[in-house]
Amino acid sequence: MPKIELIKAGFYTTIQDLGRLHAAQYGVPKSGVMDSFSAKKANLLLNNESDAAVLEITMTGPTLKFQSKTQIAVCGAIFDMYLDEEPITNAKAFQVNSGSVLRFGGLKKGLRCYFAVQGGVKTEVVLESRSQYPTITSASRLVNGDELEIDSLGNLAIASARVNFEDQELFSNTIPVFKGPEFELLPQKLQKKLFTDNFTLTPEGNRMAIPFRELFKNDLKGILTGPVIPGTVQLTPNGNLIALLRDCQVTGGYPRVLQISEMGICKLAQKKPGDRVNFHLSELD
């Protein structure tokens, strides 16, 4: 099988697909791409299955060398990118040749981008997914010198169009949410405050969770350990508001006041520490 060589891995690059869909019963996190909207878009540009494995690139991009001809696309956060030192753009399929080098430069907008290759990267599948997670996959992230197997050349004719999705929505600061199971336990004043205040992302955020800086004083007590999923927003007795993300645990003991929509998780995944967001209450259809 031909390979892609990671000359440089970047700050935090992992392999992700849509995650583990049948492993919550064992206490295994779902994992998968933080911003599924952008990852699916990159796969769509290449006519890949929507769950084909991609590289999730965070803050600083890698340098990749291709050992065979194939097609690639990058979506999500906007980086300067150079294919054999020629600038290329986000959200467009490109053909690369054997020996080609894709180099990421500065980050312009957002935080995470998705590198897709025709057919997806073919790394180990554990519990029905290639998503990297400590103690589940043999490595929890990519490092310099890693080599990733890819499909040998398939149909090169398919990918060509630049799919013109609207990314303005992805980078907006308004996060759509639904009421969480313990929302109604909050006094009305605090319920309202969740939708009028702004919340700042702290540097402690990662793929598991993002804690917000502002203290949200409340009298809610802990709950009997119950199920949580990516997008669940927990409120601790100390007043910490924490958005759980793709690598979160499957159970938790803090009141679940909000549930972020799927698109809301994608939007939050593009926010950097120090960025401010607000929550907008949506209705389920």
Binding site: Q25, F178, G226, Q259, L284
Partner: protein, 242 residues
Amino acid sequence: MQIKPSINRLGEKAILLQWDFNITPENLNWLLSVKQILQQQIVKSKVQVVNTYNSLLIIYNYSIENIYNDFRALKSYDFTGISSEDFKGKLYRLPVCYDVEFGLDLDELARRNSLTISEIIHLHTQPIYTLYFMGFLPGFLYLGGMNERLKISRKNEPRKSVLKGAVGIAENQTGIYPNSSPAGWQIIGNCPVELFNAHTENPCPFKAGDQIQFYSVSKQEYAKIKQKIEDGIFELKPESHA
């Protein structure tokens, strides 16, 4: 026992059913009975249904699945028609070495709860625990049935890391860290048995409803079992119920 759950959507892709009842093996039987019926009769698509102490969560993988119709069907479902089946599973006996080398907090527990170390070991190995669900970490078992005399609060400052297999107590719960992990629980011993392996077809040997009992082993026996596990010749076998 309360029969009718509160039923709410949890975002676009999940439905949460919650009961207001206590943690008992009987209530677990009821929850697992409902879970089975839901899987057989209502949620026909390939979804996950997971349980905790008092909740069932139905997780849909794609929002295109029939979540709205399922939600309406659940809202009008007659839960009184479900009879509680017996989900009491197999009994597994797990070795634990309570040597102070592993039992980092044995002395603290002994002092605070006015117990000797041998009393702690006796109280911890006597009950047959019920496995309610797995959560927190892959393969972390939520066990019910610990003796109240062992009840102790979490460490004020969590440890940065404890050994794989560390056996801990927090409040009225006891559990085993299936992998090396930061830990806030009071550590009383170590269990050499592999509780979770993602690379096997069945990653965890246990399921909700199973029974667990610990037995005390010396450091020498612990080392022997550890060696057997490394050599791949240790077999974890359930016992037949008395």
